[in-house]
């Protein structure tokens, strides 16, 4: 019977939702790439949505689903704005690294010497994996986008 939505079943959903949320949060905290951070945030959102749907199903009403649909709508809007912002940020620094935006800090607070830290860090040793790992070909050639106008705009 598909209609019987027991507490055990609910727990599974909640665990999955929580896992999504935590993974998203860890991704958001650890990555410096703006787009990846954004994707992580979306993942957190999906974890919440899943939880809401599960609860809605468990209580036998549509509140959770309705709320999820609202969340999705908001997320879609937010995505469009966030991506537009990311494009603008990229134009400013020619990079997606979020640590390049440290100058939004409070006046008089010393900058975190990220670059220096990175320079002093040990180079990453590529971990040799099993032979069974597929070898991916480089992802095509770089598209012929006009770099020149962007750089000009920055000045």
């Amino acid at each position: 019977m598909i209609d019987v939505f027991t507490l055990d079943l609910l727990r599974n959903y909640l665990l999955a939702g929580a896992a999504l949320f935590i993974l998203g949060m860890l991704g958001f905290l650890s990555r410096r790439n703006l787009i990846v951070m954004f994707l992580s945030a979306e993942m957190m959102l999906q974890g919440t949505a899943l939880t809401l749907v599960a609860f809605g199903r468990y209580h036998g009403n549509l509140t959770g689903q309705v709320f999820t649909i609202v969340i999705l709508t908001v997320a879609a809007c937010e995505a469009s704005i966030a991506l537009a912002l990311i494009v603008i940020l990229y134009n400013q620094r020619s990079s997606l690294d979020v640590t390049l935006w440290q100058d939004i800090r409070e006046e008089g607070v010393p900058a975190t010497p990220q670059m220096q830290e990175e320079a002093e860090a040990e180079p990453i040793e590529p971990v040799p994996g099993p032979e069974s790992y597929p070898i991916l070909t480089p992802a095509g050639i770089e598209p012929a986008h006009p770099v020149q106008p962007w750089l000009e705009r920055r000045k």
Binding site: I104, E106, V109
Partner: protein, 680 residues
């Protein structure tokens, strides 16, 4: 027909109000004819009052609207049309009409013309409402209303510091009295059955009989306190002489004929209540007597014509309070009738005297110092005549109005001295009776002195080179550069278009016609209503009047004779001293130098008040200012500074521009909150 007037009595206050609103709203369009709606409103109100006069009935009340309705306090806008009310209504609207017409000529050319008439209309609204209302609460509202109008009209020339200060003084002194009135109302509310503040309930035999012992003395005392401020009695009379800074028609209407009698009205209205406390009545009589004597003795030496009239008003109000205070045991009815009759006649002749003084002032280019002009009887024959009538009426000469009313007051005092003998107060009233006679003599003297100084002797017109002419001071308080060419009189700001070039000119007919009518009333009002007992019978139709003690009090020939002799003596003495140049006043002034100086300086009452009240209040204000700046302000500023300190010195360091750091702190915060939630 009588029901019609009782039902529509609300028109009496509302017509002048409508006129005032039209004058205020249409000020730009009406300009020089702003007086038309107000005068029309007041005259129509007078006609309605005449109708109401013949429908007076102690029980006639009409509810106009529901007003206050808070749990067990029910105060409707309710009017009572009884004898006392209709008498006051007719008098107020009649005098107001005449003064408003006079003002149309007097105030012509003043930049604030529409404002003046709007305020006059508002005043008549408040005053008629005050005498019409049927409960203490509504009376209190209108009581404040007339106070506000008085404040606004005293400070009408608000650019002049003296006028602004006088307005403030009047308002603040009146606030002291209002405080007593408010407490009286609270107390009444607490003790009367049903918490019903209407006169019908409070002034009924059953309510009065059931009043607690403390309230029987306390409430009359508080009501008298209220009356001392509004009606300028010791110790709160000091505002009235200063109130003469306002335009002369205002002095005539508000500060002589109508508003200042509100206190007398209140006591007369509450007489059944006041009569419960003979001790308070003695106090009222003594206060009235002291006020009458003090202000009459100040008026003896004043040189400012309007100021003489102002002190005379205070003195005559003191007379009315003497009469009210004489209402012990079987004299009560006679006392109320005497007081109200004097109020009635005084309104006519005092308004007449003020308007005549205004007429003199108008002709003299706004100079009011009597030493600077004289012998005007040929130049201003009409004003001279009307002033003489008013003065004779004030001095109480037979058969003018003042004679009858003053005589009745003296009679009441004499009867009280017999009736109160049982209470042990007889000698007090006898003493007051003789002091009242002395005051009558002084009244006649200073009135005649003002008259002779102004109209007799060699003709003299004001000129800026007079030794008495005030020197313009370049100090900051005297910011009028044009003080000298305008003579710097009382009303120096007034009417720039009739300055010195018009000195000695006669007044226009719109100003003489009201004088004529008032003079007619000053002659006839006494003899028409006094000996015929018309006035007395009308007042019998007043609520609670039958509760007052009454007895047979015939005409007392001895009193009439003595008071007439006192009046004639005063006039004769003034004639000897002032009708022609005489060295006697100067010699007397030098011989009794301290007395003369004391009277001229108004017994320094203002200075004493300044030291005792104003200075201490200011010191208290300085302390409050200190506390405000260094305690309250610092506290508030400190609290306002706290977030800044907290953010700047403590938390700003964490704003390092790393998004991940912010996210991590948020996540930690959520974790801590979750932990706390799980813990508890």
């Amino acid at each position: 027909m009588s029901g019609f007037f009782v039902q529509n009595v609300w028109m009496i206050p509302c017509l002048p109000l409508a006129g005032a609103l039209i004058a205020a709203v249409g000020a730009r369009r009406l300009r020089e004819s702003s007086h038309v709606p107000v005068v029309a409103g007041i005259v129509l109100a007078f006609l309605v009052s005449l109708g109401a006069l013949f429908s007076a009935n102690p029980e006639a009340t009409t509810v106009v609207a529901r007003w206050l309705s808070i749990s067990n306090l029910e105060v409707p806008i309710e009017f009572r049309v009884d004898g006392l009310t209709t008498m006051m209504l007719s008098m107020v609207t009649f005098v107001s009409s005449l003064v408003a017409i006079f003002a149309a000529g007097y105030m012509a050319g003043d930049p604030g013309y529409p404002r003046f008439f709007a305020l006059i209309g508002l005043f008549v609204f408040s005053m008629t409402g005050l005498v019409l209302s049927n409960n203490y609460m509504l009376t209190y509202v209108f009581w404040e209303g007339v106070g506000v109008c008085s404040y606004l009209l005293i400070g009408y020339w608000h650019t002049r510091p003296a006028a602004a200060a006088a307005a403030m003084k009047a308002f603040l002194v009146n606030r002291i009295g209002d405080f007593g009135f408010a407490i009286a109302i609270f107390w009444l509310w607490a003790v009367v059955p049903g918490h019903d503040l209407s006169y019908g309930n409070i002034l009924s035999e059953s309510t009065l009989g059931a009043l607690p012992e403390a309230a029987r003395v306390g409430i009359p005392l508080l009501l008298f306190w209220a009356a001392t401020a509004k009606s300028a009695q010791i110790p709160l009379y000091v505002w009235l002489p200063d109130a003469m800074e306002g335009p002369t028609p205002v002095s005539a209407l508000i500060h002589a004929a109508t508003m200042v009698t509100a206190g007398v009205y209140l006591i007369a209205r509450s007489m059944p209540l006041i009569a419960l406390a003979p001790g308070v009545q003695v106090l009222i009589a003594v206060t009235g007597c002291a006020t009458a004597l003090l202000s009459a003795s100040i008026a003896l030496t004043q040189n400012d014509l309007k100021r003489v009239m102002a002190y005379s008003t205070v003195s005559q109000l003191g007379y009315m309070f003497m009469a009210l205070g004489a209402g012990v045991s079987d004299v009560a009815q006679l006392a109320v009738v005497a007081a109200m009759f004097h109020l009635f006649t005084h309104a006519f002749f005092k308004a007449l005297l003020f308007l005549a003084s205004g007429s003199v002032m108008h002709a003299m280019g706004d100079v009011i110092d009597m030493r600077r002009f004289g012998g005007l009887r040929h130049r201003l024959p009409f004003t001279h005549l009307t002033f003489a009538v008013g003065g004779l009426a004030l001095a109480g000469i037979f058969p003018l109005a003042g004679f009858f009313s003053k005589d009745e007051i003296l009679l009441a005092l004499k009867s009280a001295s017999h009736s109160a003998a049982g209470l042990g107060w007889g000698w007090v009233y006898a003493l007051i009776y003789w002091v009242a006679l002395l005051t009558a003599f002084m009244t006649a003297f200073y009135t005649a002195r003002a008259y002779f100084m102004t109209f007799w002797g060699p003709e003299k017109l004001p000129s800026p080179d007079d030794p008495e002419a005030p020197r313009p001071e370049p100090g900051p308080g005297h910011g009028h550069g044009d003080a000298l060419p305008h003579g710097a009189g009382q009303d120096e700001n007034h009417g720039h278009d009739h300055g010195h070039d018009h000195v000695g000119q006669k007044s226009p007919p719109i100003m003489t016609f009201p004088l004529l009518i008032l003079a007619g009333c000053a002659i006839l009002a006494g003899i028409l209503f006094g000996p015929t007992h018309l006035f007395e019978h009308h007042l019998h139709a007043t609520l609670g009047f039958e509760l007052l003690g009454h007895g047979e009090h015939g005409f007392d020939l001895a009193t009439a004779l003595i008071s007439t002799i006192a009046g004639l003596l005063g006039i004769g003495l003034a004639y000897r001293f002032y009708a022609s140049e005489s060295p006697v006043p100067g010699q007397l002034a030098t011989r009794f130098r301290p007395l003369y100086e004391a009277s001229l300086n108004k017994f320094s009452v203002d200075e004493v008040y300044d030291w005792v009240v104003v200075k201490t209040t200011k010191a208290l204000a300085v302390v409050c200012e200190f506390l405000d700046i260094y305690l309250v302000d610092q506290l508030v500023i400190g609290i306002a500074k706290l977030p800044r300190k907290l953010g700047k010195d403590l938390l700003a360091g964490y704003q390092n521009g790393l998004i991940q750091f912010y996210a991590a702190v948020s996540a930690l915060g959520v974790a801590v909150l979750l932990f706390i939630l799980l813990l508890f």
